[in-house]
Symmetry: D2
Subunit: 340 residues, 4 copies
């Protein structure tokens, strides 16, 4: 922690800040510069203390020079975290693919989707039973009924299931039916949900908030790890910018940054990240080239009939083509697409 | 709803879209332009249908020309919604002031704050018992204990209480102690929470999400109204931009826009909106001049000792001065500051 | 300048950075913390040196703790800069109003606008002869012909003239006809233009770039001052965000911040800042309440016939009403609207 | 063009808008919906007319359904534009690499860089002689002297030269020394410069403005094409967002979108796009996987000594490794890296 004093700070103000820091147990190194005085503070950064220091007379700003995340950091754990389901490993050398419809629309439709993704070798099925929607008048998902269809799809196909859980009280219910529990972009800072997910054992797929910094996203993961569950998969899904051609701006630079800062696996959602099936294959290829550990893609047997997010879903043919392209790119970066 | 066909759309594609719309019960007006054909669709906009139309061959985009909100709109209700607590009216001719510490830190401290704001005529006390924090290692609030202190502050001072509720299961508990239930910026799209608040009777203070559009914010309010509670107070608190000098960029243009689109009262939080006490008085004055129905301001007896958000809290003296300035501005726009 | 070393930086890396800094003439104070070592660097901040330090082994980041602007800063000059034209003073106790059409459309139309704004006491006429337009096929302004009409409007009405200059070679030409030379948002970092404006004597109205930070904006002003012209008027005109209801998000918090950091006057453009006449009066009032030294507003005799930016122009009646409202707000913050 | 009337628009207002449109030569199709009336307007979109329509009574908004760009669009020209220099083709099947230092720092240093990039097979050298800098006190480039060094580097190595031109009056001078003229991010909407570049014959590398939408970027290219020069290479270099870990957010989705909307080649600058050499190789690979026609990368013999943008420059060894990785990715998408 560094305290930068105002150019015009008086000697007694500087001393007052020093005294306060020492009283709080910090060591203080003073560096008297030409335009301002800077205090180097020795001891662990504390948010509240930093903020209150900032309101002391003569203080210009307080800078945190240490990173705020601990358990998720590479410093804490050097080796990559790999999340395993038998042969399927997320975060290992192979690149996983998760695919399926945006929403679970019915038993028949879901099984059709499951068969389509299974047929091309995908091992993990996505599908939302609980759908967060901007409008109260939009389709909100089949809820528990949808979860049952997901379970049936697993029974029939052997696919693993990823599905969203929207609040902490539904965690046991969703965990009963899902293999991986997804936290959606709007819930990235739902701290009750995060803590509850930290207390159960199944892996969590944590989507980046649509306006979250990488640091906030890692801190959200820190909530889960701090409760004891270190099986967190990060998922970049686009951030909100001024650009209109895409629904969001997919921030692929987050991939190498997260891999550098953290030991957790990171996957990419090019469907929500662009909002348009047309750009999905290009961004799927780019994600793998950037080093992503996997993809989560929306696929629908007939996108034009989808109840939710049709325009960003690939039809089966385009999905197969995307897989083939992605397979080539994965090999070019020394990895394999984990298809069975 | 308008369907814009691609310049190169074939006649049969246009007809297919028309047929589909008619099958869904819509009327269709075709307008064959020089560069493209446009279909004017008669009937209520439906999100899912619009999205799936977009993936039909030949379709360029689907545009919603009607506004998505209903119950919150001025079209639905012409007169301003006024929320009343005896003499205190939010959304009426007078401008309300809500003030208090960011977090409830202890009984003694809270009572001290309560007395300070009471003394200058403020009628509503703010203070967080549940604190959403980016880091799991930061102070998270006194929780139920904090709620009790708030109740005691009301008993002693007669102040009304605003405090945040962070999940739907805590609504009854918080409603027991608070007069107005606050939804924080991170929970603006916590739809479970919104629905639950719609089912109880106390007014709700709904903060704008830090990256929410005005439309999404009004849709979040629509969730509450659609469940039967129309006592919603909107609160602008800054949006996330690239500017670093302020914690957020306070979007004051949201004030006249919300007043135009909706009948709900709108207040402004210049403390979170700027993140620095130094800019709070100027933005408080500006908010009132822009037509806000009230202010919610952080005040702390000794900001440099605050456990949370000290740098954005006014000390009592600066708060008094801000009130005096704001009082003048309120009069200049034909309103009065509702101080007792 | 502060150099933060990586947690894992080796002793020899730290020493190497120290040696390099000392060789460059800097003093170095080392502060060995618990998680990392920090070097406090004494001597003036240098951009290039900072950047190259960052690529040295073991360095995590380099932080500039001194502000980069000099001549524009309050530290450099304590008193407000006031720009005077006889009785008219920009940056003094009174609030100035600049008004007129977006573009000069013809001699007759301009004179009509000039008379309208003159009649209500406004002293400064705005009007673009050179119009930066996104499309090469849009109306680009009357150019030199338009400047002549502006001169004629001044002769006839005695109004001062503000008009945009789009490149350094036109500075003499525009300066011949204008009293204040405007730099548009797209040219805020046209450094040739800025330097040229620094070498002439007329005041410059410098609009904030649509994605410029406050710091970059002040640095653009620094370019002008560094060449010898200190008559710079800053103009906030909205920044680019994800919000769609407004063309830009007017950042009124920039007003108190600029007044705090700099001695230069700052005015606000609520017309471009919102893009819709409907929100202009509210934002004009808010700007004055926030402490702005003036307003620049688009007024058109018949907005529906304007060749450029009609929807954001006030008609004469609405403009008069806006002035009356603004006058009240100005008085409420202890200032007067400078109308003759 | 579509005119959406207010829900409450009166019949006479709708008729008045219709009459006005017909007077302007447009055909009008009226579509009377349940919540509002919409007018489909037949005839070419016109910005000014659209804007003025918006201020007519009863009008809610005017929507442009046709795209504003013409000469740059795929509709106008189906085949890819390929820019040729003998064997080197930009926009063809092969992927080009442009590399070199951020700024030309001296003759010796430049020749050293030129040899490094030549040695690994790169055909095009980048290097700035004119440097746009936020601060007037930063190194601004060697200007004409720097251009001469670039010419000498070409003579000695046979490399093609790309360098930035910052204003229209320098176009002939820069064109004398450069093979490709670069427009920097701050000048993307310097319309004088764009027009001048449209009147000369050398190819133009047009960087995206840091807050420009894809549409504005293509419109900037349209300025160049509309003057007769169709040799434009678009360059994505990151946009400004709230994320701090990177200097900009590289918007790779712009690559497939531009390839879809336009026939022009598009390349990517991962150095400015991230601001940190550490993320450059990953983003270079991702750019190629996304379909970019080339890369422009900063390489410096000794990044820690660079006068400008050292932290984002690769050293020779890392550059070689990046090329090798990128070569593999290019092959995986059916292309070759154009190295000699």
């Amino acid at each position: 922690m560094i305290v930068v004093m105002h150019a015009a700070a008086r000697e007694e103000e500087i001393n007052e800040v020093s005294r306060r820091l020492q009283k709080l147990g910090y060591g203080v190194h003073r560096s008297t510069g030409e335009t301002c005085t800077v205090l180097g503070v020795i001891g662990e950064y504390n948010d509240s203390i930093a903020l209150t220091l900032e309101s002391m007379p003569g203080v210009d700003k307080v800078i945190n020079v240490s990173k705020p995340f601990k358990l998720v950091s590479r410093e804490f754990k050097k080796e990559d975290t790999v999340i395993e389901f038998g042969d399927i490993k997320i975060g290992g050398p192979d690149v996983v693919v998760i695919a399926g419809p945006c929403a679970v629309e019915g038993e028949k439709e879901l099984l059709e989707s499951a068969r389509i993704v299974k047929e091309v070798g995908v091992n993990i099925l996505r599908g939302g039973a609980f759908k967060p929607r901007t409008s109260p008048y939009s389709f909100q998902g089949l809820e528990e009924e949808g979860l049952k269809y997901l379970s049936r799809a697993r029974e029939e196909t052997g696919l693993l299931i990823v599905t969203e859980v929207m609040n902490q009280y539904n965690v046991p219910l969703v965990a009963e039916h899902a293999d991986i529990l997804q936290v959606g972009t709007r819930n990235m800072q739902n701290f009750y949900l995060l803590r509850e997910l930290g207390r159960q054992k199944k892996p969590v797929l944590l989507k980046r908030g649509m306006s979250a910094t990488i640091e906030e996203w890692l801190m959200a993961a820190e909530y889960i790890l701090s409760e004891g569950n270190e099986k967190v998969i990060l998922c970049e899904r686009g951030i909100r910018t001024f650009e209109h051609y895409t629904r969001n701006t997919l921030d692929l630079s987050a991939v190498p940054i997260v891999k550098y800062l953290s030991h957790l696996p990171v996957i990419v959602d090019p469907s929500h990240g662009t909002g348009n099936w047309r750009w999905v294959p290009a961004m799927a290829r780019a994600a793998i080239a950037a080093g992503a550990d996997g993809l989560i893609v929306e696929v629908h047997p007939r996108p034009q009939e989808a109840l939710s997010d049709g325009p960003q879903s690939l039809n089966p043919e385009r999905f197969r083509q995307m897989l083939e392209e992605t397979r080539q790119v994965a090999m070019s970066v020394g990895r394999r697409l984990a298809l069975s």
